[in-house]
Every structure is written in C-alpha cells, then in structure tokens.
Amino acid sequence: MGRDLNINVHHITRVEGHGNIVVDMKNGVLQKAQLDIVEAPRFFEAMLKGRNFQEAAIITSRICGICSLGHQMTSLKATEAALGLEVSDQTVMLRKLLVHGATFQSNVLHALFLAAPDFLKVGSVFPLVNTHKDVVLAALRLKRLANDVGDVISGRAVHPISIVPGGFTMLPSEKDIAALKEKFIKQAIPDVEFILEVLISLAGEIPVFERETEYISIYSEEEYGLYDGKICSSDAGLFPVEDYLNVTNEFVVPHSSSKHAKFNRTSYMVGALARFNNSYALLSPMAKKAAEKIGLKAPNYNPYMNTVAQVVEVVHCIEDSVRLFDILLDKGIKNEKPNQEPTRYGRGIAATEVPRGILFHDYTYNRQGNIVAANCIIPTGQNLANIDDDMKKLVPEVIDEEKEDITMKLEMLVRAYDPCISCSVHLLDVEFVE
C-alpha cells in the first residue's frame, strides 16, 4: 500500500508575501502539490489609468520596497517607448549601475539571510549572527554599498527620486562616482569573494534535484542581459519584447490569486538561474571563475541552484559596475537634462531583469500624455507554475523520507525561487453580474 502524505505549510517563512505549500498524496498517488498564493490583488494597473507620464514610474515603484528600482526602470522604459523619448548613453550607463546595485543587494540578502539559514540548519538569520558573524557583516556592508549607489545616482535607495522619463533630474558628480568605485574595489570585491567561499563550503547542503524546464530571460548580444535586450527562451530562441503576451500567456488557477504563465511547456522559469543558463557566456571574467569554482555550469536544471546563480551574479554586478564607473570617469559626467518632448503617443512595452526575473510593463498613452491602459507581468507570477511542476516531480522522488525532511525540501524549493509574492498579484478582470 502506498504512502498517504498530507503537508500544509501555512504561510511559508523567509519569502516576501504569503503563500501556502499544499501536498496531498493518497495511497502513493499524488493528488496535489502546489503553492497556494493567498495575497490580495494590488490594482496598480488600475491606479495607472488616467495618470500622466511623469507619474507612472513613481506610482509603480511603490509596487514593492525590495524591487522598487526594477519597477521604476521598466516603467520608465515603457513610457519612453510609448512617447518616443530617446535617452543618452550616459543615462543608460547610470541606469545600468542602478540595476546592478539593486540586483546584487537583493541577491545577497536572499542568498545569505533567507536561503542560507536552511543550508546551516537554523530557523532564521539571527543564530547566524553568533556563528557566522563575519558573513552577516559582509552581507550588511554589501547592502549598504548598494544603497549608496542608489543614494548617489538616483537620490534615494528605495523609491528613487531623480530617475525620470528621458533621463535624470540630478546627476552624480565625478567625485561621487570615483568614491563609489573605490568602495567597490576595496570593500565589495573582498566581501563577495569571502561570501563565495562560505557558499562553496555549504555546497553539499544544496538538495540534489533536477527538472529541465524552459528558461526565459532578457538576452543582449553585448552584455549579460539585465537592463535591456530581447526575450530569450531556452526552447524557442529570441523574441521582441513587444511579443511578451505571446510568451507569457497568463492564465488563472483556482489555488492562486496570482496568475500563472506558460510558453512552450506547462511552465517556465525566470530569475537568476534562467539568466545564467541563457547568458552564461556574457558573464564578467570574475563571475565565470566564481561559477567554475562553485561548480555551476550552464545549463543547470536544479532550481535549488538559483541561489548559487544569484551569488555568481553578485560577482558579475560588482565587477561590471567597476567597468561602468571607469567609462563614466573617462568620459566625464555631462550636464544633461531629461528628454521629455514626446515624439509620439501610443503603446510602449518594456522589459528589464529585476532580481527575481524578467519584468514587463506595457502602457498606452493618449495625446494628453495620460495612461489609458496598463499591464504589468511580474517575474514571481511567471515562476508559480514552474514551482508547482517542480513540486509534482520532487515529492515522489523523496517520498520515502521523513515528513519533516520532505516539508523542509519543499520550503527550500520555494525559497530558492526568491519569490516576491506581493508583487505578483495584480489585477484580475472581474465582471460583476447584478
């Protein structure tokens, strides 16, 4: 007689937002293995309607306090696409620095404060303060440095102020850029190298599990895809960002207030592992060495390795930031005003990689410069179907283990995706019948 197994983790810990893990197996037959999303919708797309192009990015940055920069960046790009606003190379470089800062800050916090406690068999980061004090301090220093990048370049670390459609309202000085560069070289690089060594020492604690899926991310011919590029599917190749609806194919499921997504399979994965798998060749030299040292090779089909891919990306973001600082210092900071003269009014679609994966914003403007339609597709929502499919494969493979161990592996699986659940629940079309 097969095993009966019932697991219900109500509000999994160490993720952003609220989700429940539900597993039901009867007589060895898996009835259900899924992540129930129980967050309320956020209604940001509805809030954007009627808003002026100056306001859109300010509003959407409030979708999240963790990935506010990513939402703001994608929003700006969508507005610029809709209104035909070109931005300068300097603006692009400064934005890339901001994206790097947001990426490495989020990845460090997730890897060390949210995921690592599992590898060290403790319930939270607090015990690590006594046992791994130097690692916690290194993580806090990196977070502080990422905040400094946000403060210096965009006026504020969370919900940036000076990045607007068409450019920046205030620019950093070359002295500020030089000071950041020095901190990156003297502090950030040693800190991330130390963190990498710690992660290597924990590599044996990462669960061994594989399920090949479709990996979707931004892809650029010129650099590791974070700020801009085309949509890349590991199954189907490259697509223009404007085709995002044909890629994401959102659908509603009964157990989730966030929609799911699928493309060429029943699900796909976005995030650090997807970016690594699709753009490995474009990682910085130090990041490639880090990946080699920790044994991460592309393609990798173990979703638990998403956390490892995040740390590799931290190395990349830090090294590439130094490259960008050098270019800016070499060229000098030019006193540019934001370009805010629309050359068209229409629909604009943009994609950026935020820490958790590819983010889409889609706006349509009227001739008054106000939004008449908006859509946002969030990376965590795109991952949910993949998490469910992972669970459905994982549970039968570990069914002979103790219930507590199976539960822990399921929790670690969800955490590995670094979900930002509150971001992921957006508007459902509801028709009221009166």
Partner: protein
C-alpha cells in the same frame, strides 16, 4: 552627526508621524547637524544604522498607554528592550530582534526613541490632530539634541 530615522507608513494615519516630522525638519535650517533617514518599515535599514557609530534619534508612533499625541522619549538599553519592542512595529522583525542582532554584530549606536501615542492607524487616514500637534515639540527636542551633540 545625529541620524534622525523615521519609521512608519504615511498611508496609515498616525503611523505616518515619523515621515511627517522628517518633512518638517527638512525645512529647517540647521546646517549639517543631522541626517534625515526615512526607514519606512524596513528592519534592515534600521539594522544597518544601529551597527554604525553615529547616534540615532528614532521617531515612530508607539502604543504606550498614554493619551493620543503624547510623546515619550527613552534611551534604548538592554534592560528596557522588551518594553520598547512591544511598542515599535517593523515589518517582519521585532525591534528587540534587530537591536539584539546589532549588539551581537558589535557595538550598537546610541539610540533614543521618540514615541508618539497614536489615535488612529488605519489606512487612508491622515494624521490625527492630536498627533499632528506633537510635531513642533518633537522638532524642538530634536534640534536641541542636535545642538548639544554639535557643541
């Protein structure tokens, strides 16, 4: 330099007292005596500053059993951390956890909390009159502290 750190959510009535005080402070001309930091509800921002050396004045609404708008000022010590923690709300962590974490990581910055008893902290409400009226008193206190520190 003294750091003036506000906790709280401007969308939730009197929970917005911290950011409101920062807004008023930003209008004053006090030179380089203090740095204004809006920590929202982010525990890690607070942790980051607690692990540095500059003294902190933390402003938040705090349920202390007083009348709405009444202010209490207290130094954070290990002896009163449990009491403080019950009054201060940070998303995801308690103040006690953050303070203990900072202490375990090294010496903590001197920290004084300016707590204001709220009247209402529901969404979509402005500051109550009682709490709004406490702002000038808080600002006077902060400027006094900043002047003493600078002297």
């Amino acid at each position: 330099m003294i750091k003036i750190i506000s906790l709280g959510n401007t969308l939730r009535g009197d929970d917005g007292i911290g950011p409101a005080v920062l807004q008023e402070l930003a209008k004053t001309d006090t030179g380089e005596k203090f740095k204004l930091i809006d920590a929202g509800s982010d525990a890690f921002i607070l942790l980051d500053h607690l692990t540095q050396t500059d003294p902190i004045l933390l402003i938040d609404c705090a349920r202390m059993g007083k009348n709405p708008g009444e202010i209490a000022v207290f130094s954070v010590e290990k002896s009163n951390i449990a009491t403080v923690s019950k009054a201060i709300a940070i998303h995801g962590f308690s103040f006690a956890e953050i303070y203990k974490m900072a202490a375990a990581l090294g010496k903590t910055a001197p920290c004084i909390i300016i707590g204001v008893e709220p009247k209402i902290i529901t969404f979509n409400k402005p500051l109550s009159n009682e709490v709004r009226n406490s702002i000038p008193h808080i600002i006077n206190y902060i400027i006094g502290e900043a002047n003493s520190y600078a002297a």
